[in-house]
Each structure stands twice: as structure tokens, then as C-alpha cells.
Amino acid sequence: MTAPGLVEVRDLVLCAGGRTVLDGVRLDVAAGEAVGIVGASGSGKTTTALAVLGHLRDGITHVAGTVHVAGAPVLPGRPPRGVGYLGQDPGASLNPYRTVRAVLTAAGGVRRDRAGVDALLGRVGLPAGLARRYPHQLSGGQQQRVALAIALARDPGLLVLDEPTTGLDVLARADVHRELASLRAAGVALLWIGHDAETLAANVDRLVTVADGRVVASGPPEPARFTLTSEAAPAEVVLAASGIVGGYGATRVLHGVDLHVGAGERVAVLGASGTGKTTLARVLAGLHPAAADTVTVDGATLHPDVRRRTRPQRAALQYVAQSPSEALHPRQPVRTALHRPLRLLRNLRGAAADAEAAALLEVVGLSADTAGLLPAELSGGQRQRVSLARALAARPRVLVCDEVTSALDPGTRDAVLGLLGRLCAQDGLGVVLVTHDVEVAATADRVVVLAEGHVVADGPVPDVLGGDLLPGGVPSHLVELLRPDVADPTVRGTVNVVPSRRAAVTAPTVVSDDSPPTG
């Protein structure tokens, strides 16, 4: 199984409806080697990975080239044996209609008994008690590991991993990275796709870069970069919130969160998935009902419901939502997106509004022509800038940004974060940066760490994020902070099974006894 030259892709050309998707890809994976593939979105990473599995998605046709796995051709449609596959989205990969045990009993085409299933779970670091659950009753990390267990059920010599951690929060990501590291150590070859070269670099032997369906670079990875910045402490406080309590129905998500932001200060709110970061941001924005009037901007108390806030209050606190593709109306041009707040919050119309819109676009680094385009005609980074411009149109004092960079590739992400930094410095704008990404948090002035709806740390970036790095680039100190079993013993044992609003990110609010015993 582990003969040299495990995977040989030679001059592979795949087309989709006349368009070339893969244009002469050449790729080798040796037995036991870990190869990473990076590239921009749409560059053909997934298509390559699936080709290695002998699978072409509907609409893709094989034009030329060969793919051999363990010496046997796999294209077209002859899936190799002994190759495990782990998809991008663990939540969607698992059969939602079967329990973990039912799936694992027959996984890999072999029947196994109870002990066999438990052993398989053990291999990926999961307790046997999980076997009775359905996929939606698992956290994202647990789902990912069950999927891994299914892939391992074939006893593969090669694992094909397609962005296995994109949907996961810091904790789950660290867990998965740990598992993969141990597999790699056990001699399983990995073909690992990601769009984040820095994270991948720490985990593979060799990195291949794909662009427009072609392999453009190949070589050993560069070491991880991790910069911690900290600026001077700010003066006057623009946003102050104290004792924020909020939840959904009877479930309480925020248990008295305090937050203050100074003028020109960037405060990152960091936390695992499902800890209530978005809820917090929405309470601040007046979009989610909160228990009491707990938010003040420049000393003035804001009504908990945005519709009951005065016009200047609405303008003073602006909220930039998570996904740039959802934040803009797909059928409205950028001009409309900017004109509406100008008209409603600043009473600008016609030529005055046009001029102001152009100025806003310039501020966020976009050309004035952008005004006529639809969101679909913009790149992700451009879209995010338009959202920012729309928020800035109100001339806010505070900007609450919810994961504004999570959907962006590293280059665009840095540009957007840079822009925010500039705005803080120039206009004294206070920024709340909600994120689950440590690297994003590292660009702020101060970090507030949220776990289980409690603030568990609040301080300058180096204090909170310093220390050793775990595989996957997560500071070990932070992992300690986020482990909630330490935080509140009273809620132990009640696993939150509220279906997440986004299927990809399902995480338990409390990790109970059957959480990974790590290692």
C-alpha cells in the first residue's frame, strides 16, 4: 500500500461546459508524505482532490491526462481502494438520518461489532458514549472526527482532506489538527487542501499552489508567522455596555457581559463558536432583545430595540454583519446601498448623496465606478468594503463588526483589517471586532475573551494571546481559557442540542464528560 509514488497525477485536463477547470495538473504524493494544496477560491483544488478519488462532479468532463493511485488508474470512475476522504463540511458529510454507531458499523464496506466501533471512535479520540448520537447532536469538532473515523474505517494509506477545518472554531480546529498530526506520524499520507497557507504550512511536508487550474508552485512550506501588536491605551470611552444578558427563549446565552471601547480603540471579542459573540454584537446593535438598557454610546443610553432608538443614536452605532454576501442586497447596486443610509440617517439626497457616496468609496479604497455595480460583480473583499462604507455613511462613533473577515482569503482579510486600523487612528472611531480567529484578534488593541457567555479574559493582546502555540496555531493559554468545563461546573452535563442557525457550525455550549480526553 505504501509504495513510493502513491499518487501520480499527470497533465490532467478537466472541463466544465467548454471551460477548462484543470489545465494540465501534475501532482505527486509519496507514501507517508503530507502534501498541502493551496490556492484562491475556484482555482480547482476540490476538483483535483476529487479526481484523485476517481470522482468527477456532475458537469465536469475528463479531457486528457491520467491519475494513478497506488499504480492503478482511477479515472474515469474507478475509485481507488485504501483512500479515505474527508470533506470540507463535516456537518453536511455525515448522514443526518443515522446514528454514529449505525454509520460506523458498516463503514468502509466492512461490518464491525460494538467493540470495533468503539475502537474506531477511540482512534479519533472520541468516547464510546457518542455512538448513540445523531450527527446534529455533535459539536463541529466531534462531527469532523466522526467523519475522520469513517474515512479511517477503510484503513487508508492516503487521506484526502478538503479544507477540513474551515467551518470549525478555534477549539475544534486544534483538536482536528492534533488528530491529523498523529495520523501523519503513523505514516498515513495526506493530501490536504486549504486556502490558508500559514496554517497548512505547519502541518505538511510540502505545499503545492494552484491557480486557475494550474500548479504554479511547489516546495517546502514557510514557517508560520504570528505577529502581536499593541498600541497605546486610549482616552475617552465611546461605547460602554455592562451586564448584558441575552438569550433565545428560555436559553440564556450571555450571562452579564461587560464591554467598553474607547475612541480610536479596536477591541476584539474572541471566543469559540456558539459562545454568544454574534448575540452580543446584535444586542449592541439593538437587533436582539436584551434584558435591560445596558448600552451607552458617548454617555447616552440606547434603547434595546434599534427601531426605538433615535436617528442620531442609530447613526452613532453601526453594525457590520458577518457575511459580505448576505450583508448586501444582491439585486441592489452599491449606489442604492450607500444612498439609503445617507437619506435616512443624514438626510442627504440627489447630488449631495452622490458626492458623499463617492467620498465614502474612496475612503474604503474603491473607485467611484463601483457605485453602479451589483454585489455579484464585486469580489469578496470589495463587498466587505462596501458594507463598511455603508456603515460609515452614518458617521458612526462605534462600529460593531461581526466576523467581517471570516469569509475572505488572507490577502483581502489583511486589507480590510488595515482599513479598520486606519479609520480608528484617523477618526477616533471605536471598533468592536467579533471573531473566532486568533490571527484577526491579534490585530486589535485589546482582546476580550468570551466563553459560555462570560468574559473570561480582558486585556492587551500580548497578555491574552501570548505563550506556546499548539498545532494549528492556537495559543495553549487560550485553549485553557476557553475550556468551559473549568469555567462553570453547574451547567456541566447539559449538552446544548439547539440546532445551529448555520449547519456548518454546530458546537455544544458545554463540553461534557465525553469531550475529548486529548492525546
Binding site: S93, L94, Y97, G109, Y134, H136, A147, V495, S512
Partner: protein, 322 residues
């Protein structure tokens, strides 16, 4: 789950009450009334007035409604304007129509599932397109036209099946099963076609779902993929379609019943509405409405039970009890 069912039944009952009031007042507002219909050409004004008085039609509509509702609470469906108690008119007929609807549904389930799977597992294939077009054609043709053609071929042409549903007194349709074949077939062609279309589409979409792709790419045998990953995904949708079809069949057998002279509620329904026979129309609205409420509730419960995310939503994860 029990709370859901109880709650939904209560809402359903409330809606039925609202509905009965709407229908009662609405039908009363129609031009002409039962006295007119009853007397026909012999409806001289004097006789008309007397008949109205005898039937109580001269009283205000709300008083009559209250009367009717009171009777209903005591289990009395009232008396048709023809003088016959409504319960005697409806009696076995509701059961006969339910039999027709039930048989159709029972046959519809396996047929639509098998044909839908057969087509949907190979989306875009020749057989898939064939099924799609054929089902469309059957959906587009009114069932009484289909039924008429069936009679022409199987009863008059080949003489193998009865053209009309003659059920002797004291017997039920099940005592003459041959009489059920053509009516059920006519209903089936229409409704199964619809179900096949829906199920086919769901299967075609499920086959491309990530969890199916994942299972396949990790070497699960095709038969197991269909059994474990495709079918369970289709079941909630199919259940909805089946039960909604059953709901549509409640009172939807009218046209076919008429073609075959089947002793169901069809003819009663048409006559009652057309002659303004309020007590009968009301009783039917209640019976059929209740049938639909139950079918819709069953659909919801079925979907809930066949979807793990919904089924487990109200209970904690299994391990939490340890």
C-alpha cells in the same frame, strides 16, 4: 410531541368552527335558497313562503347557525331540506369515499416511491425524462377524461371491468372489488403522477447531497448508500406528499365518483351545494375539513418522526441521562 398534537388539534377545531360560520353565512347569502331548489317549477310565491317557514328559512341566519351548532354539539347533524336526517344521507357514503381515497393512497405509496426512485436515481437519464413527461401528461389531463377513457377501453371495449359501481344495498364496495378498480386507477394516474414528480425531484437532489457523496467516496456500497442515505432523506418529503395527496383526496374524489356512479359523497356534495341544502353542506364541510386537519397533522408528525433533527429537538442528547 403530545403537546404538539393536542395543540394542533385544538387549533384545527377552532378553525373548523370559524369555517362552519363562514360557510353557513356565505351559503345563506347566495341567491336562491333551499326552498326554491326544492320546489322548482312549482315554486309559487305562496308555496315558497310556506316552505320557507316550514324549513325555518325565515329566521335570521345567525339563529339558524346557533341552532345547527347546538345540534352538532349534541351529535345531531340536523335534517336535510329534503326531510331526511343528514346522518342518514352521509352514513355509509363518507366511508365509501374514504375507502376510495384510502385505497388510492395505499397504492400510491409504493408506486410513487418505486417509480420516483427508478427515475430519480439517474437524474437526466432517458428513463428519468420519460417518467417526467409521462407524469406531466397525466397531471395535465383532468381525471374525468382519464376515467372516461378507462371506461371506454376496459369496460365497453374489453368488457373486463364494470363501467359503473353498482353496490347492492347492505353491501360495501369491498364486496364488489371489481367495481373499485377503475375509479382507483383513474385517481391513481393523476395523484401518483404528482407524487412521482415530487419524489423524483427530491431523490435527484439527494443523490447529489454532500453526505451521499461522502459515503460513496468512502467506499460504501451503492445499495447501502441508497438504503441508508438516500431513502431516509426522501422519506419526510414523500410522507408530506402522500399525506397531502390523501388530504386532497378527501373530497377530491367527486369527479371520478360521478363518472362511475360510485356511492360516495361526491354526488351529495354537488347536490347539497347546488341546491343550497345547508345542513348537508355544513356537515360535509365539517367532516371533510376534519379529515384534512388530521391528514395535515399526520404529515407534520410523520415528518417530525422521520427527521432526526426534529425528533430529538425536544429531548436531551441520549448521553446526558447517564
Amino acid at each position: 410531541m403530545i403537546r404538539l398534537v393536542a395543540g394542533r388539534l385544538a387549533t384545527g377545531a377552532a378553525l373548523l368552527v370559524l369555517l362552519s360560520l363562514l360557510v353557513f353565512v356565505g351559503v345563506d347569502l347566495l341567491p336562491g335558497d333551499a326552498a326554491n331548489a326544492r320546489l322548482g317549477a312549482s315554486a309559487t310565491p305562496a308555496r315558497l313562503a310556506e316552505t320557507r317557514q316550514r324549513l325555518g328559512l325565515d329566521r335570521p341566519v345567525l339563529v339558524r347557525y346557533a341552532d345547527w351548532a347546538g345540534g352538532l354539539l349534541r351529535g345531531d347533524l340536523g335534517t336535510s331540506v329534503s326531510g331526511t336526517p343528514v346522518s342518514a344521507i352521509l352514513g355509509g357514503r363518507v366511508a365509501n369515499s374514504a375507502l376510495l381515497a384510502g385505497l388510492t393512497t395505499i397504492l400510491l405509496v409504493p408506486i410513487s416511491l418505486v417509480v420516483g426512485m427508478w427515475a430519480g436515481l439517474r437524474p437526466g437519464s432517458r428513463r428519468d425524462r420519460g417518467v417526467a413527461v409521462a407524469s406531466l401528461l397525466f397531471v395535465a389531463a383532468p381525471e374525468f377524461v382519464t376515467a372516461g377513457l378507462l371506461v371506454l377501453v376496459f369496460a365497453i371495449g374489453l368488457g373486463v371491468l364494470p363501467a359503473v359501481s353498482l353496490i347492492p344495498p347492505g353491501a360495501g364496495p369491498l364486496d364488489r372489488p371489481a367495481a373499485l378498480v377503475l375509479p382507483v386507477l383513474a385517481l391513481l394516474l393523476l395523484h401518483a403522477s404528482y407524487a412521482v414528480r415530487m419524489i423524483r425531484a427530491t431523490i435527484a437532489a439527494t443523490v447529489r447531497a454532500p453526505h451521499v457523496e461522502f459515503a460513496r467516496l468512502n467506499g460504501e456500497p451503492p445499495r447501502d448508500v441508497v438504503r441508508h442515505a438516500v431513502l431516509p432523506a426522501v422519506l419526510p418529503v414523500a410522507l408530506q406528499v402522500w399525506l397531502l395527496t390523501a388530504a386532497a383526496l378527501v373530497g377530491g374524489t367527486v369527479l371520478v365518483e360521478r363518472v362511475f356512479g360510485y356511492p360516495g359523497i361526491g354526488e351529495v356534495l354537488v347536490t347539497a351545494v347546488r341546491t343550497g341544502d345547508l345542513p348537508v353542506a355544513q356537515a360535509l364541510v365539517m367532516v371533510l375539513g376534519a379529515g384534512v386537519v388530521v391528514a395535515l397533522l399526520a404529515a407534520d408528525v410523520g415528518v417530525r418522526l422521520s427527521t432526526p433533527t426534529l425528533r430529538t429537538a425536544e429531548q436531551p442528547a441520549p448521553v446526558a441521562f447517564r
